[in-house]
């Protein structure tokens, strides 16, 4: 015990000595779990998150959505916890437990009052020791996953056209082509054994990273974490993050989408590899913001009305490839025709001249402000940190993120925009 403590201190010390900010990292040698502590004492709220490498791209062929079903099982029965007791702890304490599946990773997270930190450390340990799901638990998880798809279909008018768009972007046979929530038919036919098999492939200590943040006692959490999590038996090598896809040549150009239920849609999407540096990551986000601003202006100019909910921009970053899209949808054909012309004009204008120096500083300021607002709350910080961690394999310090944004210049943006928004990278899916 004494020896273990001394070892822990010795191992932690360099991290503390070198720590310029509130970010400490440690790798548990017994099983390879990576541990990040991100203390923040402004408010009495703490958070924890488990990051599993290998996201929906690891769903078995023809079984799209298996990992998403597993996500729901992670709140299920363990050796000491009854089914959903884990979830009830957070419901009763007023905290929040949630999770989401991405193409490259799965994140389960909790936000809770600071005085529950020790309980949460134990709860995480308990579920990481191993789940004991019954076939009924798997059925319940499947039902929840199906409900998630139904809600998505109900709330997102672009749902089916976006599925087709991702197929075109990644290639229909790519494991990245399907959305993380999966497909209804595949989920319905999933067996207990198939779910268990993916569980064994992904849920082992070497494949996970733990984050504890917010109002935590660094010393206590680091000691407790090592004492708990070093007991977990290593299950193998970390799952390799897949680099750029080998999908072969992918189609570009314009594709037709039938107007469903009188809804006209038009997606302009641009593919690019996973960003290899923080600067590039933020440049892509700036391009998305430039799209947003320019499109709003163009459409307003053309239609003389605000069509707020009828268009959206988005970007997605993953090791299997990333994309930016600007999507337009409306039930009014005349508006659609006019707005689609604006969309095409904006895309070609942005490629030639994304913005001038003044606009660039303004957007840069907004991007920085968005990032800082995201990092302020634990609930919005976790997705941001998880995305960066999945792309770069490490958690950048807040000051590094701020520096990366501040150092961006308009010439880099021009260079990246020219390259990214080229015809050879674009996919257009539109109603006629």
């Amino acid at each position: 015990m004494q020896r273990g403590r001394a070892l822990l201190l010795l191992l932690l010390l360099p991290a503390f000595l070198g720590a310029q900010e509130n970010l400490f990292s440690y790798r548990i040698p017994e099983n390879g779990i990576s541990l990040y502590l991100l203390p923040d004492f402004k408010v009495p709220v703490a958070a924890s998150a488990i990051f599993f490498r290998g996201g929906s791209s690891q769903d078995p062929p023809g079984r799209k959505g298996t990992l998403n079903v597993l996500k729901y099982l992670m709140f299920g029965q363990t050796e000491s916890l009854a089914s959903h007791e884990y979830l009830f702890f957070f419901l009763d304490s007023g905290g929040k437990a949630d999770g989401y599946t991405a193409k490259d990773y799965l994140v389960l997270y909790e936000v809770f009052p600071y005085f529950y930190t020790n309980s949460v450390l134990w709860l995480e340990f308990e579920r990481l020791k191993g789940l004991k799901p019954t076939p009924e638990d798997v059925d319940k998880a499947k039902a929840l996953a199906l409900r998630e798809i139904a809600a998505e279909k109900r709330n997102n008018p672009l749902y089916s056209s976006l599925k087709r768009l991702e197929g075109l972007i990644y290639g229909e046979s790519s494991p990245f082509a399907h959305s993380p929530e999966g497909e209804e038919r595949a989920i319905q036919s999933l067996t207990y054994q198939e779910v268990a098999s993916l569980y064994r492939r992904i849920f082992f200590p070497g494949n996970l990273t733990l984050f504890f943040g917010g109002n935590i006692d660094v010393q206590e959490v680091s000691q407790q974490s090592v004492s708990f999590y070093s007991k977990l038996v290593s299950g193998g090598e970390p799952y390799p993050l897949r680099r750029e896809t080998d999908n072969g040549p992918l189609p570009t150009g314009r594709y037709f989408w039938p107007s469903e239920g009188g809804l006209y849609v038009s997606h302009f999407a641009y593919r690019f590899p996973a960003p290899d540096s923080l600067s590039n990551y933020f440049l892509y986000r700036l391009i998305e913001m430039a799209f947003e601003g320019a499109f709003r202006q163009e459409v307003l100019k053309d239609l003389k009305v605000e069509i707020r909910s009828d268009w959206e921009t988005d970007s997605l970053f993953s090791q299997g490839g990333s994309y930016i899209r600007v999507s337009l949808f409306t039930g009014r054909k005349l508006d659609y025709i006019k707005a689609r012309l604006s969309q095409a004009r904006v895309a070609s204008a942005l490629r030639e001249r994304p913005m001038d120096g003044g606009e660039f500083s303004l957007l840069k300021g907004r991007l920085l402000s968005r990032l800082l607002h995201d990092l302020e709350s634990q609930e919005t910080k976790i997705p941001q940190i998880a995305e960066l961690y999945s792309l770069f394999g490490t958690v950048p310090q807040e000051s590094a993120l701020i520096r990366a944004i501040k150092s961006l210049n308009v010439y880099d943006l021009l260079r990246v925009a020219k390259k990214t928004l080229g015809e050879n990278r674009s996919v257009v899916l539109e109603s006629r």
Binding site: A6, F41, P44, D92, F112, D217, Q219, E398
Partner: protein
């Protein structure tokens, strides 16, 4: 030797560890300028996003007009232009700084919340100080704000819930009460520029203003930024005295929306709990919300057979609380009866021990989750004394100390002062038993 090593390691670890701040609320530093302006300042070295909360202790209750609107028009106009700053330049300054701005006004308090990246904080503080010390209040800006407010109030006529939200206070308190001023769009249009300027000069005075600043700036930098304040000493704020109106009558507001629906509202007063930040009141409202979503809902459905279109909605404003349900016009009479029976049940058994226990736990958790955003936390502790602010992280203990009797007392206060307000078309009138004063929606 090994023992010495261990001691050395412990020593080094504690030397380089950040001070253990877990679970400790930051203590405020407070100072008051000679002109009466109060500043509460929290210093967080390394904070990347600063928060500026500005509260002015005045509102519609503090204006000399019979109707509402002057305070809101004045406060919103104030933020749209200052000496040397046009409306466009203010918006651009805030946008360029990546600032997020929220404005809220009620009868007695107007509040402005700004989130801004740390390196822009000093500039924004100076800018705000300048806007507040020499507001431009240009006539075009005031006219625009008047038009927008009047338009918003006009649109409320087409929605029963918004109609209640807008006129609830005047219906409850009566127009003679400082909180009961009517919200009349014609009245807003009559507000004159000199009235706006007079209100700002007299009411938005330094002694009525408190800044809460959460930042990485040093105290000296904060003082320097705010020294731009050049206001003289004026202190004329007359706070409204809250009270429960004597008349206790039910009201029927006759609308002509023709959609076959009506809104049934049970509204009560809380004269003993006027401060919104009072823990007892917040806890009562949280428990009441839980009660409405569970036991009261079941009571309506199973024992009374009343299935409202939309289940309970809880309204709360300074000094009063209301429960509302929307029902079809032919069920109004039954709904009023069901409410009367619900009142009896509430009076005898709300909250139960279990409701109190679960409610307290979820109240604490909900609060902590909301506090992830700093402005929510600092808004919550605004009215606490410095000692209580330092203890604010220990909310769980404070909540546990609240006795059930206190909650029950607030509940009794609500029930004993409650009355009905029904908003519906003329067809509803026949089903209302007992005395209901009738008010035409057009006359509001």
């Amino acid at each position: 030797m090994r023992a010495v090593d261990r001691k050395l390691l412990w020593f080094l670890l504690f030397l380089f560890l950040p001070p253990c701040l877990a679970g400790q609320a930051r203590k405020p530093i407070q100072f008051t300028y000679p002109n009466g302006l109060k500043v509460t300042y929290y210093h967080f070295p390394g904070l990347t996003l600063s928060k500026i909360l500005l509260t002015v202790d005045t509102g519609e209750a503090g204006t000399a007009l019979k109707g509402r609107g002057l305070a809101e028009v004045a406060f919103r106009s104030l933020l749209k232009g200052g000496a040397g700053f046009s409306e466009g330049s203010i918006r651009k300054t805030l946008q360029n700084a990546g600032a997020k701005v929220e404005v809220e006004t009620d009868s007695e308090r107007m509040a402005l919340t700004i989130s801004v990246p740390a390196d822009k904080t000093k500039g924004i503080l100076r800018f705000l100080a300048s806007v507040f010390s020499s507001p431009a209040l240009a006539s075009t800006v005031v006219e625009k704000e008047k038009r927008e407010l009047a338009g918003r109030w006009e649109r409320a006529r087409g929605d029963r819930r918004e109609l209640f939200e807008l006129h609830g206070e005047s219906l409850l308190f009566g127009e003679r009460h400082p909180y009961g001023k009517s919200a009349n769009s014609a009245g807003v249009r009559k507000i004159s520029l000199p009235q706006v300027r007079k209100f700002v000069t007299e009411e938005v005075a330094p002694a009525n203003i408190e800044w809460t600043i959460v930042t990485s700036l040093s105290g000296e930098q904060v003082r320097d930024s705010l020294n731009f304040y050049v206001w003289d000493k004026r202190l004329v704020f007359k706070k409204a005295v809250p009270s429960v109106p004597q008349e206790r009558e039910n009201t029927f507001v006759e609308t002509s929306l023709g959609d076959g629906k009506a809104l049934v509202v049970l509204a009560g007063f809380l004269p003993g709990s006027y401060k919104e930040t009072t823990l007892n009141l917040q806890l009562f409202l949280h428990l009441l919300n839980g009660y409405l979503g569970s036991r009261a809902k079941l009571f309506f459905l199973t024992r009374q057979g009343v299935a409202p279109e939309s289940f309970f909605r809880l309204y709360r404003e300074r000094g009063w609380v209301a429960l509302a349900v929307e029902v079809s016009t032919d069920r109004v009479g039954e709904t009023v009866n069901a409410f009367s029976l619900l009142k009896e049940e509430m009076g005898s058994s709300f909250p139960t021990d279990l409701e109190e226990k679960d409610g307290k736990a979820s109240f604490v958790g909900t609060k902590y989750l909301g506090w992830q955003r700093l402005e929510n936390y600092y808004r919550d502790i605004l009215d606490l004394s410095p000692e209580k602010r330092a203890e604010s992280f220990r909310l769980r203990e404070r909540v546990q100390r609240v006795e059930a009797e206190r909650i029950k007392k607030i509940g009794q206060e609500f029930l004993s002062t409650s009355r009905f307000i029904v908003l519906g078309d003329s067809v509803v009138r026949g089903s209302l038993k007992g005395f209901f004063r009738v008010v035409k929606a057009e006359s509001l």
